[in-house]
């Protein structure tokens, strides 16, 4: 499957074509001024140069999908999330959330979304977790008994029930992050934006947060989630679709498995053979589509590593050559491409081109 910057994956495939995407982004460009000082403003006569941080971003997020935004630090993930959450305004392009234009009707958009900030400071330090949630819950439109009940529910989801009456400044980084997840869920929004929700969380709670997002929110409650992360494993493990952002551009967009296949430059095979078949190495190297053959002497034989073009059917030729050689094959396995290889492949290409 080919991987392109625009999309390798038809988000509407297999679904009702008339369903409005939960998130639709078209040709969005975002820039920030290079300096905000008055001196700079004066020296540039009121028109301070701007640095573009997002270039022609287009993507669709289906309803009920868990969409990952993967990228290194500074790739533009948080800026994109802020645009979706109406906290930033795009220079050009269109953003709609649940079919609502985010530029024209930001208040209507805010009724549909929840935001899990990556900033662990984003609470009132001198209030308890419960008091914080009460305030943010009220501002999300929840009041009275419904609010109190919802606070208990979301606190239980992130395993913070026992700490609800503790002051926020006594919380560890991980607890703060989990409270941020709880806050995003308070208003029971249709669409939730998570900005690195497991960044400071210990492995056990990180796994629970991933399970909460994947199993509870997306699979069971059919919510839509957009997850910005710089964790490859997280994106590959739980996301239905991943857009890889690099230097403000989407360099790939599709289900993780398709990204793996689409970006594979070769398939690697490990073959254990008896003896030392030099002639076999030569004949395998001659097969069209075999990119590299290397032989490593091991105990009682040799280990061959073959890299084959994934586009052709050279593997059949290889198997035939092995059968015809009369050499005893002790082991044969293919090596799946790893997310890290895919990510490096994607970001390396862009940075060198």
């Amino acid at each position: 499957m080919a991987v392109s910057a625009r999309s390798t994956y038809d988000p509407k495939a297999g679904t009702d074509q008339h369903i409005v995407p939960a998130v639709l982004v078209r040709d969005v460009v975002k820039s920030f001024p290079i300096s905000l000082s008055i001196g700079s403003w004066i020296s540039h006569r009121g028109s301070v140069p701007r640095r573009t941080v997002l270039h022609d971003i287009s993507l669709d997020v289906r309803q009920g999908e868990l969409f990952g935004l993967l990228g290194q630090n500074g790739a533009g993930k948080t800026t994109l999330l802020k645009l979706l959450a109406t906290l930033c305004i795009a220079d050009t392009g269109q953003i709609s959330i649940a079919g609502i234009d985010a530029r024209r009707r930001p208040m209507a958009v805010k009724h549909k979304i929840g935001l899990c900030s990556s900033d662990e400071r984003s609470f009132y330090f001198r209030l308890t977790a419960r008091e914080n949630l009460r305030f943010f819950g009220a501002f999300s439109g929840l009041f009275g008994d419904r609010l109190e009940q919802r606070i208990e529910e979301v606190a239980a989801l992130v395993d913070l029930s026992p700490s609800l009456n503790s002051r926020f400044d006594s919380f560890s980084s991980g607890m703060r992050q989990r409270l941020s997840v709880a806050r995003a869920l308070l208003g029971n929004p249709e669409i939730i934006f998570f900005d690195e929700p497991t960044r400071a969380v210990d492995p056990l709670h990180a796994r629970e947060i991933r399970a909460l997002i994947r199993d509870e929110l997306v699979t069971r409650q059919r919510k839509t989630a957009v997850l910005a992360t710089n964790s490859l494993e997280e994106a590959w493990e739980i996301c239905d679709t991943v857009a890889v952002l690099h230097k403000g551009r989407i360099v790939a967009n599709g289900p993780p498995r398709d990204l793996n296949v689409g970006l594979m430059r070769f398939v690697r095979y490990h073959i254990r053979l008896d003896g030392s078949p030099d002639h076999l190495v030569a004949s395998l190297s001659a097969i069209d589509g075999v990119l590299r053959v290397s032989a490593l002497p091991v105990l009682e034989g040799v280990s061959l590593i073959l890299e084959i073009d994934p586009g052709g059917n050279s593997i059949n030729e290889v198997l035939r050559a092995l059968a015809n050689s009369g050499t005893m094959v002790r082991g044969f396995r293919s090596e799946e491409p790893q997310p890290f290889d895919v990510f490096i492949g994607l970001t390396h290409d862009v940075s060198t081109s």
Partner: protein, 283 residues
């Protein structure tokens, strides 16, 4: 308080939600204020010190009709105490909105608040609820202390005093919202505190009657809301009716009607600018 009010009357949903959100903001600000117990209690102590300080200063100054209302002589203590009490509303108006935005920028809560389905006027104006309630309480204690030190409040026209207190808050708040807009844009208070704290105290007749100022400065003084607010309050303290103080009341009403929409518009423009420049959460 606001939440209880919302539950008490059959308001339309929108108004009910606005009241409840305002109530939530009030509770948050009250709890935050009380949590800083040293600042909270020294604030009360400062009131005592101020009253006692001006009690002794006023002993150096003879009573004069300049300090009274309608040609009646009054002591400097009577004059300055009422002014100092009510100028607190101006200080609160200027401080509470801008420091609320500044604190939310520093705490990282501003962006999260802005992502909730709450309108900008509610976000900014609700920040004044606790601050003005607290100031009102402080003013009451201030005046109570002053009475103990000999200020004569026996002629107060309560209705006029309440109306002018409300008009003072209404007219001062837009100045505070404009300060908050400047914080949103420039991320620091800049000259607003100096202007509001220093210049208006000088020209607004807080420490001395504006009749002592040169004529051009008296015209400038007339353009300041604090001048009319203090005139009204001083009049109320001396028993003046609303009809007698109508020019001051009308001035404050008109200024409020003009300044409030302008301040909310300027705040909304500042937020829009911050969203364009990506500086909403910057500080």
């Amino acid at each position: 308080m606001m939440s209880a009010l919302a539950d008490l009357f059959p308001f339309p949903n929108r108004i009910r939600n606005t009241l409840r959100k305002s109530g939530a903001a009030f509770i948050r600000d009250a709890k935050l204020a009380v949590s800083y117990d040293l600042a909270f209690w020294t604030g009360w102590l400062a009131i005592v010190v101020q009253v006692i300080g001006f009690y002794f200063i006023s002993k150096l100054i003879a009573a004069s009709p300049k300090y009274g209302y309608g040609g009646h002589a009054a002591s400097y203590f009577d004059f300055v105490i009422v002014n100092l009490a009510f100028v607190r509303f101006q200080a609160t108006a200027v401080q509470c909105f801008q420091s609320a935005i500044r604190n939310d920028q520093l705490a990282g809560t501003l962006e999260v608040i802005m992502a909730t389905p709450t309108s900008l006027p509610v976000i900014i104006l609700s920040r004044g609820l606790w601050a003005f309630t607290f100031t009102l309480t402080q003013v009451a204690v201030f005046l109570l202390l002053a009475v103990m030190f000999g200020v004569n409040l026996s002629h107060v026209n309560l209705l006029t005093a309440v109306v002018f207190t409300l008009l003072t808050v209404l007219c001062m708040s837009p100045l505070g919202v404009m300060s908050a807009a400047s914080i949103m844009t420039f991320k620091q208070a800049g000259g607003t505190s100096f202007f509001m704290g220093g210049v208006t105290q000088l020209l607004g007749g807080v420490l001395f009657p504006i009749s002592l100022l040169p004529l051009p400065l008296q015209y400038l003084s007339w353009a300041l809301p604090i001048t009319h607010a203090l005139n009204g309050i001083r009049g109320a303290v001396h028993g003046a009716t609303l009809a007698q103080l109508a020019p001051e009341a009308i001035w404050l009403c008109v200024a409020s009607a003009i300044l409030l929409p302008i301040s909310l518009w300027s705040f909304s423009r500042a937020v829009e600018r911050a969203k364009i420049d990506g500086t909403l959460g910057h500080y």
